[in-house]
Subunit: 442 residues, 2 copies
């Protein structure tokens, strides 16, 4: 409901997803296999420091969150370098001390003996979550006596994907630790090579040697952007639908995918909304959780007085304190400063009437992370030294049964992305930001 | 004694080493600290298959044996690929079966369920051996109460070394598993940055920040070739001598270094020689060990009738069954076929009189390993398909006390190098051979 109406109209991609979701999950008698499947999320909640040492959520990613594997390796390297050289290199100690003060100010303890780079368990925890889903599928659907090969996990990837190493790390861990085979395929190739059995709902994949294997889990590392659906006749959308209709677990299911929309993030921040996801015993956790939310304002039909006040503030000289964000995943489409001010002014009329075009956006309080010294590398060479800002991503895995019972819910590692403060654009794959590691202090 | 005379005269590099060795270790009252140090070998014994399934020793490397780290990773990769795909890819099964038959012929079992790529423990075992040496040094010489930083292990490397990743793997494992810091330096830089305390024999290294650290173990990944000693005034030789005279353990000590000479290998193969290294209880092991030796013939003053008969054979049309090998480490200087025949003929006169120039060589039975199918890669791309031959290297670590007591003696992993059979030259770093992995069958 949050997404129907304004967002779906203004953003055709989200609209298409929502339409399929409603057809499959909200229509009596339809989507029997999809409804019966487990739900599985590999989620990444992104945070920035704000007002020095406060963590504020930037967004929640529910599809194709990347860099879990590479970031684990980077943290291992940084942990090694700090631990190995902090004793004998005065420069490193000073460098870390300056950054500690920049974040913690007077709260920083002089005792740094417990400070350090944490270990990210992502390459253990994410495959472990996948194996929970796979094992549940096997015990539910696969008879061990019929001699057929075990099902595979399907990684849906982009054609010409360049971030393959990060994905291969998960694939290799799945085999080495859980003996679960992985097959990679694009949505385009899946159009001819994937089939969902009409009787059982089993999803099967045609391999290169002509044999076919059942799929227990479909892990999407593609499918989050319109460019992942290039087919003139909607081939990729048909593949997506075919997958969704199967009994295989989808990571994410369309519902989980839609839950990552900025609009949902904004709606969850409304007073009273978070409470319904916690039991009576857990209500005391809500204020702490809500304190990690930045100011989030609707620009849709449901915009309240508070939302409009924020818009007014933003077009009255305070544009620097806001970000205008579209629903679309993948970054790089945000409005800041003058651009934000102009975009809002174009779409506000009369007594703070907001045009329909704004419905696909949310307005968010801009975060001001403390600047820290950094030396950034590109392709093994020093790119430069300067002030930087960072964004922390925290992975988690969650599995729920068809009845909605949570059967697995675990923290699953982190990544940190760092860029020079004078660079507006973000993104590691696009070359603006680098993978880095947190250094925890007290 | 084996090396003095012929070899030392004909090969100035070995001569120089031997001269220093005798000065330091064989002179009463000299080399007090060197003599008192533990001896440590990271050895690699190289083998080829011969007459199908017989393992014959090619040589024993006692200095700078490389690729322990990279080969472990390659074996892990090959193990993964075979285990993951052998079930579903018929081509892989056929490929391995053809090679199994090429080596084992009729001895090959039809049951391949126990076949596979072994795991190389080199990155655990070699650092573990180093830590034994380091810990013995610390408990012998370092008081824990004086507050000074722990000693470091010095890796002596070539200027402009390109095989650094392999070395860094050992360095990182030493820190991660044993918290032992490593410092890298060339013999050239060591001339000004290393000092041996005249009173205590402690070897110390000057770090970049001006501080100095004691060295427990010097691990040579350079120093085995004349090109590692370029200084016009013998700077590198002086560094080597300074290191040798210290109380730090050397890997290898000059004695261990010299023990890797081909001449020693040949002398050990003489009847009755191997026996003296085994106790009475162990004498039954000798024939099995000797059966791994190929035919080895002296061309020095000690050449016996059997040696001369081999030379005669080689210059009478059987040159294809021999290799002529110089003492020098590093490969690429061997004579085969017509070149071997010509070299021998030039230096044989009258009734099989051998000229002094031949003393630096040994004549060895040529090995004929079975040819196996291979697909070789270079820089991630397929270089070609074809028949190949392989050489197996087995690492071992050995620590002995100043009195000669063996306190540590362990197998420490393997590497396999593979090249196309039609390529005469060898060497991974030189680009002719590739790192590969054994596939054990029964």
């Amino acid at each position: 409901e949050t997404l129907s109406g304004g967002v779906a109209e203004a953003d055709p991609f989200t609209g298409k997803l929502l339409e399929l979701y409603e057809q499959i999950y909200c229509t009596e008698g339809a989507g029997e296999f999809a409804k019966s499947a487990d739900r599985f999320g590999v989620l990444r909640s992104d945070y920035m420091l704000h007002n020095n040492n406060e963590l504020k959520q930037v967004e929640l990613n529910t599809i194709a969150s990347s860099f879990a594997g590479l970031a684990s390796q980077v943290a291992q390297m940084h942990g090694h370098l700090v631990e190995r050289y902090i004793g004998e290199e005065k420069d490193i100690r000073e460098w870390l001390e300056v950054n500690k003060r920049a974040v913690m100010g007077g709260d920083a303890s002089d005792d740094s003996s417990k400070d350090g780079v944490p270990v990210s368990p992502a390459l253990t925890c994410i495959p472990a979550g996948m194996s929970v889903v796979h094992d549940r599928y096997v015990s539910r659907y696969c008879s061990s006596s019929d001699g057929s090969l075990s099902p595979v996990i399907l990684f849906v990837v982009q054609e010409g994907e360049t971030n393959t190493v990060d994905q291969r790390m998960l694939e290799i861990a799945l085999w080495e630790k859980h003996k679960i085979p992985v097959v990679r395929m694009s949505l385009t190739a899946g159009y001819t090579k994937l089939a969902t059995d009409a009787k059982t709902g089993a999803l099967s994949i045609l391999l290169d040697d002509g044999s076919s294997r059942e799929v227990s889990l479909v892990y999407f590392r593609a499918g989050y952007a319109p460019t992942d659906y290039p087919g003139e006749n909607g081939e990729e959308w048909k593949t997506r639908e075919k997958i969704e209709l199967s009994r295989a677990t989808k990571c994410p299911s369309m519902g989980y995918h839609l839950a990552g929309a900025k609009k949902v993030q904004q709606a969850l921040a409304r007073p009273g909304k978070l409470e319904r996801f916690f039991s009576e015993d857990e209500q005391s956790l809500v204020p702490g959780l809500r304190s990690t939310f930045a100011g989030l304002y609707s620009l849709g039909a449901d915009a309240c007085e508070g939302d409009k006040a924020a818009v007014k503030d933003a077009i009255s000289g305070q544009e620097g304190n806001y970000v205008l964000k579209p629903q679309r995943e993948g970054g790089g489409y945000n409005y800041y400063g003058e651009g934000l001010c102009a975009k809002l002014k174009e779409n506000v009329s009369g007594d703070m009437e907001l045009s329909k075009e704004l419905a696909e956006f949310i307005l968010m309080e801009r975060l001001f992370p403390p600047q820290q010294r950094a030396c950034l590398l590109r392709a093994g060479k020093v790119e430069g030294f300067g002030d930087s800002i960072s964004e922390l991503g925290c992975f988690g895995t969650v599995v729920s049964s068809e009845s909605g019972e949570i059967v697995h819910n675990e923290y699953a590692g982190f990544l940190l992305r760092t860029k020079f403060s004078n660079v507006d654009e973000g993104g590691v794959a696009s070359g603006f930001a680098t993978l880095s590691s947190p250094y925890l202090c007290r």
